[in-house]
Amino acid sequence: MTAALPLPIQLVWLIPVYGFSGVLLSLPWATGWVKRNGPRPAVYLNLLVTLLAFGHGSLITLEIWKRGAQHLSFNWFSAADLHLSIGFDLSLTNLAALELVTLLSLLAQFFALGYLDKEWSLARFYALVGFFEGALSGLVLSSNLFMSYFLLEMLTLSTYLLVGFWYAQPLVVTAARDAFLTKRVGDVLLLMGVVALSALAGSMEFTDLYRWAAQAQDPSQGTGQLAPLAGSLIGLGLIAGPMGKCAQFPMHLWLDEAMEGPNPASILRNSVVVTSGALVLLKLMPLLRLSPMATTVLLVVGTISAIAGALVALAQVDLKRAFSYSTTSYLGLVFIAIALQQPAVALLLLLSHGLAKALLFMSVGSVIATTSCQDLTELGGLGNRMPATTSAFLVAAAGLVGLLPLGCYWCFGLGVQAIWQAHPLFAGVIVFTNLLTALNLTRVFRSVFLGAATPKTKRAPEVNWLMALPMVSLTVLVLLTPFLMARINPVPGIGAFSLPVAIAVAGSGLVGVGIGSLIRLDQFWSRSIQQPLRGIQDLLALDFYTDKIYRATIVAFVAGLARFTNAIDRQVVNGVVDGIGRLSLQSAENLKLSVSGQLQSYVLTVVIAIVVLLSSLTWIVGEAVR
């Protein structure tokens, strides 16, 4: 079968290799072996391999469009009853995700060339992004859980290294640590689920797992049915990984702190990384039937993330953080859609959110690069000074909010239409999140682009072409999102929702924009002196004190346990050893004094010892042999 496939499909395994080869290609410059011409050659090589990945992906997409979905599998490692393979599921959905990943990676890398122009370790940044892109592009195509886990962990590592890019700064150090550990906790829980599924179901291919899950649930099957507890635990383990990856409450802290990393990496992190986590969850969706508890947890986590994320975003004064919390919020909506078995809505939302959020972060990056400032209170009046950036921000905001007929409007419409009868509460969550997001985007737009110019923005020029070109291209792409969506998902059409739903979505967006335009801007950051309001402001600005709660509970618990173990180790375990040593020395000292010199008593002792030893030995041998 493989022989009949065209070459681009046969060579699909090259797709992740492109990204990873970027790491090797950057090494001579990243390590400083080649210093003569600066690190630029590494950048060009990385852009080239990303372009290759995108081109190759497009060729495959064209072929798949003609032939229908294909599946390719290569054996990786087999031992006894364990078979691990590298599998590629070439469906249009996966390929669309691949194109999204490689395209955004290409644009972000181009953008980074301008943003990180004078960075001394530019080559290291590109090596890391190459690693990132390789893992991501393999992940979206992966057809088995093992490979997905493998690449998710690699993403964790590359996120850690990218967040820790400027490792000499103290805040970066803690941010990188938190990013790694939070995701790692999710990953280990996921690993527990993966290992359990591997042992129980035998195969790691998603299709085999679906079949196994259906069977394990079937009450007519006497044997091989899974205990409910085991099913619940596996389900919880499986959702923990995507929860960490998608920065959902209570594992959302890292995304906010990760804003300490370079902005081009934030572009990717807030768009495609979170998307990849959600895609893994989508692939796991049929398995979640094993565990009603996992579905409930998904709903609760998604709802909390959606609303709390949007609320916390409102109280941020940091330009990047105001939008990183919004990412948490949107992925919460995706979680809700997945838990309510609406994969199409989830996919469309991921696509339109990914594109719009990437554009938003490019625009934010342009502002930061020009003004060297990301504090909302110190910005203003950039609207007529940076037209391309301003329009990018406006288009991105329109793409995110359900008001104008861009990407998310259609997603929200479809989502509300699909669930409002069965789950009106969650339809309300979507509408409310839309309102809060519109409010947040409006107030940020007012503080940054409208109003009087501040000392930091007075002489701000538009960004150079290296940043402007990817930003403008992405602006066009976001404007075209509805057409993309219509191409991908023709039935039942992206406008398949009723007029009341359309009015509810657009109305909530309008209300959000209205409140955002009317409210006094300083109310978002000045602390009120009236108590309940002040408390709420603090609560939101400090993200519900999540980091403090963590420090007081989990961190303190593990640290305390570690100190306790260490104390036991030193005092008790080692103390016993040292004590025995001292005891033997002491008793030898004492015995030395009891030496009498009487030969008879020595002989007597020896004889008694021999008799006792020999008799016990004969007894043991007699007992021992059957």
Binding site: T31, G32, F77, A79, A80, D81, L82, W120, S121, Y149, F150, L151, E153, M154, L157, L161, G164, Y167, A168, P170, V172, V173, A176, R177, F180, L181, R184, V185, V188, L191, M192, V195, A196, S198, A199, L200, L226, A227, A230, L233, V558, A559, L561, A562, R563, F564, T565, N566, D569, V573, N574, V577, G581, L617, I620, V621, E623, A624, V625, R626
Partner: protein, 519 residues
């Protein structure tokens, strides 16, 4: 040479002859050779040993499960001591690791100030004795080699160690001597009870013994090898020995000598007493889980980098016991992987910690900062350190991941709780090693001046002597090995799978694997 002539060649004796003859050559070398020349001779001998070990791969048949290339010569028949050697998929990778890591230890030796002749000959002697222990097919012969490695290592710690070396070396000696006594006692007891005078591995069996005495003998073996492994609570010699030993000795100790414990447990504990093993296995799984979690938690609290890596060894060797307790084909292959993986990774970590110590004069995590600094710090060492700790934490793409995955996958159904606890230990590994990298390598490279002003800006920038590229070669080679085996695990699995699968099917063990689900 025809293939039968290749098979008939005494390859295994060659693996013993090279290091032992090298030892004598070094000791008897005429005149006063310079330390550099002694090191050169040692490296030449060890390279020959590595080549001879690699040559084994040509004559070894990976599809065959039992002992291969056997050599039997009568030595002292009256006490059942035969010179009987053999290699199988369990010992072959360990022989290779031994050759490679002893070579690394010789290459990275930099301190020639004290008695270089004895130092290098002891290095060779250890390598030969370890080879002997891995290859011996006779219990008494194994014991001889097991004890033979003890004295040179004691000398290496007590002559070339740190300030507390006398305490650490004595502790090591007493612990390991007790371990040897217990092992010898178990071997003698087995012979005594079964009434045999032949200590060869193949005919000796515990089948006719009452279960009670089997359990007693197995327990003696478990404690004996558990000291070497080391398992909690018999581990306290290890952190002290590591912190006092010099870098090459730590590499040997962690990379090679601990494997004697796991090898012994699997070969003799499980191999000779399968029925009693099946009885004790649930307890062993719990013991393994305690060891893993305890070692990992204790590692978090350490401030000395070397102590931290030493405690991580306590944690990671526990996985091998867990896999042994589960005794499924996948788990046992995982145990083999874990032995090799721990050998490579811990050797890498000790090398890098050694480099940091040599350049900064401290291993204190409260004092070190910002070593990744590209111009004034140790960027390459830092990069390799990130590779090493990530491999140890089980990051995919490196050998630590596939070994942990195999162990967990093979053990989960048999011992769900213990396996999950071990996975928690794996998460804790990420915690302490991440803290190590974050503290020592991230941040600003500076020292706080004597006034001890806590303000960050009052710190003084420092300039560390750069590491010559040549000096990083051993660590680089180990890191590449970690990556290669992680990306293509079949490189290792190919040689061991037949043996580990056969081990899982020992009569008496098979009944162990439960049919039930997770609970």
């Amino acid at each position: 040479m025809t293939s039968s002539a290749l098979m008939a060649f005494p390859w295994l004796s060659l693996l013993l002859a090279i290091p032992f003859l090298g030892t004598f050559a070094l000791l008897l070398w005429p005149g006063e050779p310079s330390p550099g020349r002694l090191r050169g001779i040692t490296i030449a001998v060890l390279s020959a040993q590595l080549v001879a070990s690699l040559a084994l791969l040509l004559v070894f048949d990976p599809g065959h499960a039992g002992m291969q290339l056997e050599e039997v010569h009568s030595w002292v028949p009256s006490i059942g001591l035969n010179y009987q050697l053999g290699v199988d998929g369990l010992s072959l990778p360990l022989v290779l690791i031994n050759a490679a890591l002893t070579l690394v230890a010789a290459i990275c030796t930099r301190d020639f100030s004290k008695r270089p002749r004895i130092y290098f000959s002891m290095l060779l002697l250890i390598s030969g004795a370890v080879n002997g222990a891995f290859l011996a097919e006779n219990l008494l012969l194994f014991f001889l080699f097991y004890e033979l490695e003890l004295i040179p290592l004691w000398l290496l710690i007590s002559i070339w160690g740190g300030s507390q070396r006398a305490y650490a070396a004595t502790k090591f000696l007493i612990f390991t001597a007790v371990s040897g006594m217990l092992i010898l006692g178990a071997f003698l007891g087995l012979a005594l009870f079964t009434g045999t005078v032949d200590f060869s591995l193949t005919p000796i069996t515990s089948e006719r013994l009452a279960m009670g005495s089997q359990i007693v003998l197995l327990s003696a073996l478990l404690v004996g090898f558990g000291i070497k492994l080391p398992l909690v609570p018999f581990h306290t010699w290890l952190p002290d020995a590591h912190t006092q030993a010099s870098t090459p000795v730590s590499v040997l100790l962690a990379g090679v000598l601990l494997k004697l414990g796991t090898y012994g447990i699997l070969r003799f504990g499980m191999g000779l007493f399968p029925e009693a093993w099946a009885q004790l296995a649930p307890g062993l799984a719990i013991w393994a889980a305690i060891s893993v979690v305890y070692g990992s938690l204790a590692a978090i609290a350490q401030r000395d980098m070397k102590r931290m890596v030493a405690y991580s060894s306590v944690g990671h060797m526990g996985y091998v016991l867990l896999a042994g307790a589960a005794a499924t084909p996948v788990a046992l292959l995982g145990a083999e992987f874990q032995m090799v993986s721990h050998g490579l990774i811990s050797a890498l970590l000790f090398l890098l910690v050694g480099t940091v110590y040599r350049k900064t004069g401290t291993r204190d995590l409260d004092a070190l900062r910002g070593l990744l600094n590209p111009e004034r710090g140790l960027p390459f060492t830092g990069t390799l350190m990130i590779v090493g700790v990530m491999a140890s934490a089980g990051m995919p793409g490196m050998v630590g991941f596939i070994s942990e995955f195999l162990v967990f996958r093979g053990s989960l159904l048999a011992y769900p709780i213990a396996t999950l606890l071990c996975m928690v230990g794996s998460a804790l590994t990420a915690v302490y090693f991440l803290l190590l990298v974050n503290r020592a390598f991230f941040g600003r490279l500076a020292i706080t001046p004597a006034s001890d002003n806590p303000v960050e800006d009052s710190r003084l920038d420092i300039q560390l002597a750069p590491v010559a590229p040549r000096e990083t070669l051993p660590a680089l080679a180990l890191a590449l090995g970690v990556l290669a085996l992680g990306l293509v695990p079949a490189l290792l699995g190919h040689w061991s799978e037949a043996t580990t699968t056969a081990m899982a099917q020992l009569p008496g063990l098979v009944a162990l694997i439960p049919a039930g689900g997770v609970g």
